[in-house]
Symmetry: C2
Subunit: 291 residues, 2 copies
């Protein structure tokens, strides 16, 4: 795992946040700003929340306008960049490229081949070639990471612990293939493996399979873990209030994530919802999952 950036935050200079959808970019921005570091937001059209962007010096731009981003970040004096927020893998035909982007297009095309990891690692290289340092959100705001132990009052049972261990074995085996980061296990029986559909759709599938009687197992666990070769700077698994709601709707007993390797959006609300829906949320040690 990449170590957190140490030293004086202010000495690192201002931070550019390339901001996608959701609340997480602003949680990170607020944490960074609270430590006295100046934050500039490059807000992605159609993704970033316009209301919350207002709180920071910002500029709007589109995916594909890499040159526009570079000018904005350099003018603001930012060397460090964090990419964060939801963003669906874009279609080539929907992207309007500017000149700077066209120059790096061969790298982008190469990155588009293969799995998500490949895409993101390729993107990272492009920023670095342009003189920026790409950091993980957790490196500038370590408090967004899940810690070891329980959020809320519900604990996993012995059965749940066995299912969590089994699920981690499955994720270790699939991780080499750059597949999803989630698996649902009940009584050491794999109910679902996440690939392109994402965690939320996988969980609603479990709810459907249970409703239709196709899956009869009660309980079960969702386990999410970073992929073994994942570049943790921009693709850590994350959970939030909606994740807990979806786990409860799928009739699962709870959710285990890797401590130090999972982002928790709005931990306070996550805890409240876990207690209300009687779902456990546990941060497990990273042991056995390679960095």
């Amino acid at each position: 795992m990449n170590g957190p950036v140490s030293g004086n935050a202010v000495a690192e200079g201002p931070l550019a946040i390339l901001c996608g959808g959701g609340t997480l970019p602003f949680t990170v921005a607020d944490m960074v700003a609270q430590k006295g570091r100046k934050v500039f937001i490059y807000a992605l059209n159609g993704w970033a929340d316009p209301k919350r962007v207002e709180a920071y010096p910002h500029q709007w731009g589109a995916i594909g306008q890499f040159g526009r981003f570079c000018r904005f970040a350099r003018t603001a004096g930012c060397r460090d960049v964090v990419l964060i927020g939801t963003l669906i893998r874009p279609s080539f035909s929907q992207i309007r490229f500017d000149v700077a982007t066209l120059r790096v297009l061969p790298q982008i095309v190469a990155a588009f081949r293969g799995g998500d990891d490949h895409l993101l690692t390729g993107v990272g290289r492009i920023f670095e070639n342009a003189g920026f340092r790409l950091l993980g959100a957790h490196e500038v705001a370590p408090d967004i990471l899940m810690k070891e132990g329980i959020l809320g009052g519900v604990r996993p049972s012995a059965r749940d612990e066995a299912d969590i261990a089994f699920a981690l074995d499955v994720l270790r085996a699939t991780g080499a293939f750059d597949i999803g980061q989630g698996v649902v296990v009940a009584d050491r029986h794999v109910l679902a493996l996440e690939a392109a559909e994402g965690t939320d759709l996988m969980l609603s599938r479990i709810a459907d399979l249970k409703r239709s009687g196709r899956v009869r197992a009660s309980g079960g666990v969702l386990v999410k873990a970073p992929k073994p070769n994942q570049d943790r700077r921009f693709d850590l698994p994350s959970i939030g209030p909606e994740t807990i709601e979806a786990v409860a709707r799928a009739g699962l007993a709870g959710l285990a994530v890797v401590a130090g390797g999972t982002i928790v959006a709005e931990p306070q609300r996550v805890t409240e919802i876990a207690d209300r829906t009687k779902v456990f949320v546990t941060g497990i040690p990273d042991a056995g999952l390679p960095p």
Copy 2:
């Protein structure tokens, strides 16, 4: 893989088919009867097709009436039994047990724990303990198996071949966990992995993800393979006309299955639909997939 039963079919005595849903049990029954072997059908209530059962000496029964099955098969002089046809993993509470079943209940309970393989292997042991020999449908009717090569006129491209090889690597890694037998890959990117939902639901998920723009890959392949430790007597992957229709609806280029390790229901119609929908169907060698 278990070798086919050799020798004179008639000398093996009559065959009992424990018959679930779909057309496959009757394809097998017809093939066996054509070779001159007498067939008795034990038809599962709610699953077996009542019209087609009429063509054979038969008895109706429920899951859980193991004693009733034993009496029927013994009276008919059957030592060999084939289990075939669709049947959703039943719920304990829905099963009405007879006395013979209650006697083997601890074995059934043990079999219900863990994955599907475990369940089916446990079921096999129960039949064997009662003096029957449980055979795979392909052992009594080898022609139901996919052969090496293409069905129909469409061939996989070089890109498809690379995706098939990648998919086989994925299935080798997941096979140890008794997960599903199917994976969808496009450009060496895993779009979906089958678990409890089954192949049809996995394919309709791909269609949905493509429609919503969440998956933008064109083409891609479905690969199905037996699990490495699968008891091939009663759980070979199978494909049929609906599989090809679903592959086409998902916008995939085609479908690869393991030759000699996959049942093809209605190969004639499979070929017609493959040609009409311009989808390839290929039987690949078993090399590298442990028996």
